[in-house]
Subunit: 373 residues, 4 copies
């Protein structure tokens, strides 16, 4: 496979995760395009230089536009704060680059739609960082649903709960900016909404209750001055899927004790599935067939029989970690660029997710059910 | 402690459980009133005779009124089908008996209110069969909340899901009778609603989505004739508690694979609790204090330090079972009759639970939030 | 079924458990002989009187011989300290009573053999209190092994670990008496040895390492005077079964944190089983057949399909507790007395278990493998 | 940090894992020496060429000696079959290279000793592929033991069980070669032996029972010709540690159902730890201090507070996978080469482990306890 030039904007949590994944991907996926780490950008020059050195980028920039305009770069990865995703993505698309953008790609559905339309008009490939659904064991879950192994789906209960904002003294930060319109539901709710769609398809209606648990926060760490919080700490959604089944979804960033409670319970007439990201290499399956003396939930452990686990490790039980999921995300993105299947989630999917978030906010304000439009 | 005459109406699942508990209680609780099993009633004389023999009742009846009028009986236990609870309970109260009634005590809140008012006017003690909250480990959970060990409560997620109606060919039965107004939410939802109140106090508002998953069922096992189902198979509730926190509650009797998923996750500013009846001798607790290198969920196992576990077994880890919870229920009822604390849940509590169920049905029909009144 | 007179010697932990089970059994098992609680004996008259009142015994005694000679009593239950089991059992057998004796029945195999021979010569039925194997889910496990569902058995790893002697300041008590010859291996090791035999049949050879972890203990609580401990706190055994497979067994009463870690992992060519008494209503099963994408350990939950669970509760998932296991033990004993199957464990089985314990002590002293003879 | 030339011998399971780790390490560990992938060797030229392309090696070789003699290479990584480890390692040491060798480094302790002595004489740094102990959560476990948080250690129960040889029709392969002297105990037992030493220090005595469960295997897949197996499928060890405590260790490659049951239970006077590689981001801890109403096993989840987890991911709960453990192994090896702490396990430690394996084989043959010498 040929080389492909990559530029990464941002050097924080996700900037590092992306850089690491682009660096790793060709060593894991033998048929992958081979990323050449051309350039990394950060407004903080020191951070950019350090990242360049650490990950092996050939150049570093403080001006992301220089990276976008770089002729050696075919892929632009955007991991800067959410507020600037749109401007960066539109510029990259205009420059004809394929765009890999962290989630949420935009503060609202309209902005996401602009981005989606620009990308589709330009014919570039887009990828959004909903990495959790890249898990081989969740691909198995999806294939079970699609193959009808669980029978008609009768219910879904999804959650993404963590506790990184549980401390009332955790200071105000950009995640709380009301111009984004939403808090926990955008930051992590988008993951479980995307996972619900990945497994069961479109959501048609939502009835949401958004709650701000911590009403004000210190303007900065240790400050006695406090700023009112306008976005949700917890979002509780009742949802209806186009396929006919219903369910609930919770997003919660004040869930004391939970570090990664992203999971679901999915029930069908012939079986059911239970998953939690807390044990990301396991999937519980119940089947109604078989000897009732022996029935129960089977704990399926990820192994080489669940592609692409086997590319990471030929033996079962060894387990994938978070960074591996990011590597799969990058591999699938590169595969689409190379002309293979476009598995997404792309900007269109991100727009669909964002519409659900926007509708949930409206639903909570109006205290009524709302259709996703 | 003195003897006390007991009569049990009904010989089915709960009739047996009650008889067993009255038989067992004084052997476990040394300070308990000592039940004398005077009489058992069933319209099926053979069943009544068999139960009398098996449990050691002195007499059996086919007419429950004869039992209610029996001068040797101070306690009437009602385990007949829900539809006749009210008539039986009112007659027993009129006869001055203390009444132990299975849940739900009535098909709607108005009927429950009648029963509650009659009992309170007569001054008799009432007890309703919400046995799960009699679990010592849940008494611990409640005491933690009450003592503020979890800090301000910030969220509750409760569920009672089983799969006894999951098979679309499971025939129509009395649980599906629309005159009762509700299905899963009444039959098992009442347990988790009661548990939520036990832990966190009154619920003030509800926004419900009730769903009939299996639209029709065979009129009887194996029949090709089908009857439309009008009650809910799944009820999904968003709730607000008077104390200020919010949450969700699900009742689901088509949850393929689940046999006893009655549980909750309860989050506070200083800690959280996780419980499932599937492992009824365990409670998970997370605390925010302590060394962060060592923090996590602690699995507390029931033991003699959690009263009244120690009356069943002096050693920890040996575990209580379902029938033991029923025995605790009976013990507390008898303690109240003897003049001790009235721990309930009594008819007033059952009325409160029924109001939430009725309000949820109204909310689902109107698709709006409703206050519990 | 007819009535049968029962006398219980001892009113401690096990005295209560036996009394409770005899009281409960006919209410759960409709075809059972119906125990009449005739007499309870304790050298402490107050304890005997209190137990008589609590459990409904007609008489109480301070002299156990009076109980043994009681013409109304057919069944003598022995729960007094281990040191007196033999004398009591031989007297009861001589009086023609059926004997229910707590474990271990004797301090060594020779004494157990005397008791077994006396019982068999007299033709009375005997039962020993290895209640854990009465668990319906373990009967399922055994039936799987016997039916060949796991293929040829290739390994066994058993354990019974608790922490009731873990505190070095826990005072000296009768369990530590060297005249009994053994400590943890006798007190709880006997349970897992019995369970191993229940599942896999006779053990032929043993290689044991017995260890005294706490070398001395206070002569009584709080005393500064200490007494040397001569028996094992931990026993680690390698074993060979007559059927050909091998395994290990550990008994440990200083296992800090463990309250009831009685369990095993049993492996066969076609499947395997994992069990722990910490979750006594669950059995994990792995099967090699089926679709490898879906394979894993299935968590089987106890339900009515696992007899006699259904006599306790008609619905699955409700769970049995410790006292229920004791009730099953009593039910099976009474069934044998009534002429039904003799499921044991009887005095012969207790003797077999005791031989393994004695052999382990010898093996540990000689530091060599020893045959069970 | 400076660049460092690396050559990898072998392109199989471990060859890929090493190549991936050398490729990844500097992106995760900012202060690490930066590997330059100079050369990869495999007797199969096609495999070597493919690996070179996939991982970005500058050159490939079919003759490993050319790689060892390569002046641009400072580090030689040996992942070829065990039988040739010694020859390769001695050559690399002779050439003054630092050596990273997969386990077991040698078929017996004498060979391992030769290798260790050569390396120490030459002053090169060595690293052996016992990657599991590189897990941050196990570093936490070790630090707890070392700091006395668990009190005096009173017992250890370790296991490494998998099922890759459970199928009796799995054909004969090099792992079964009797010239290596041992089977499961060498292949995976070495991991749990190393882990025991990592946590508790030296083992002084062993009493082993080695068993060949599958007596013969097809000479190749599908063949009807069978070859006798001379090495152990299961090894069961009783051990004594120099620090005074005792324990057991099992190695088992016919453990049907188990894919990665590498774990232990470690008990002390003040607490205990439970670990399994099946959930490698979790550690269970029990502490005897604190309120007994709330005590139990705490499930500690790996997070940035457990170095070097935070270099992989700044947020807790995201989880490390198998390849990440290999990356930590490489990072620590490079740190030692750069003059930092030598954490090992090095050839000396591998020799210590091999001595225990050899002694276990002798013990099993003699059926007696043996001292490790």
């Amino acid at each position: 496979m040929r080389d492909i030039g990559v530029g990464v904007i941002g050097t924080g949590f996700m900037g590092k995760a992306h850089s690491f994944a682009y660096r790793a991907v060709a060593g894991i996926f033998p048929d992958s395009l081979r990323p050449v780490l051309q350039s990394v950008a950060d407004i903080n020059g020191e951070a950019a230089e350090q990242a360049a050195k650490q990950f092996g980028f050939r150049r570093w920039r403080t001006d992301w536009r220089a990276l976008v305009d770089d002729q050696d770069i075919e892929v632009v990865s955007i991991t800067a704060p959410n507020a600037v995703h749109r401007e960066m993505a539109l510029a990259a698309i205009a420059a004809g680059k394929h765009v890999h953008c962290e989630k949420p790609i935009a503060p609202n559905a309209d902005a996401a739609k602009d981005m989606m339309e620009a990308a589709e008009a330009a014919g570039v490939v887009t990828q959004v960082g909903y990495n959790y659904i890249k898990n081989p064991i969740l691909k198995l879950a999806r294939s079970m649903v699609a193959a009808g192994e669980l029978g008609e789906i009768t219910g879904f209960r999804g959650i993404h709960a963590e506790d990184y904002m549980a401390d009332p003294e955790a200071p105000y930060n950009w995640r709380l900016d009301a111009s984004g319109g939403a808090g926990a539901i955008a930051d992590i709710g988008s993951h479980i909404i995307g996972m619900a769609r990945f497994l069961l398809g479109p959501i048609s209606h939502v009835d949401a209750d958004l709650e701000t648990v911590v009403k004000s926060r210190p303007v900065r760490a240790g400050s006695s001055e406090r700023r009112a919080v306008e976005v949700d700490d917890i979002a509780r959604l009742a949802v209806r899927f186009e396929r006919g089944c219903r369910g609930t979804i919770e997003a919660n960033w004040v869930a004391t004790g939970r570090k990664m409670q992203l999971g679901f319970e999915l029930t069908g007439a012939k079986g059911s599935l239970v998953y939690t990201q807390e044990r990301l290499n396991e999937l519980l399956q119940y089947r109604t067939d078989g000897d009732p003396r022996h029935s129960g939930y089977t704990r399926i452990e990820a192994g080489p029989q669940h592609h692409p686990y086997g590319l990471f490790c030929v033996a079962p039980g060894h387990q994938l970690g978070f960074n591996d999921l990011k590597t799969i995300e990058v591999a699938e993105f590169l595969e689409a660029i190379a002309g293979g299947e476009r598995r997404g989630p792309d900007f269109r999917e991100a727009w669909e997710i964002q519409k659900i978030i926007d509708t949930a906010v409206r639903s909570s304000k109006s205290r009524t059910w709302q259709a996703i439009e």
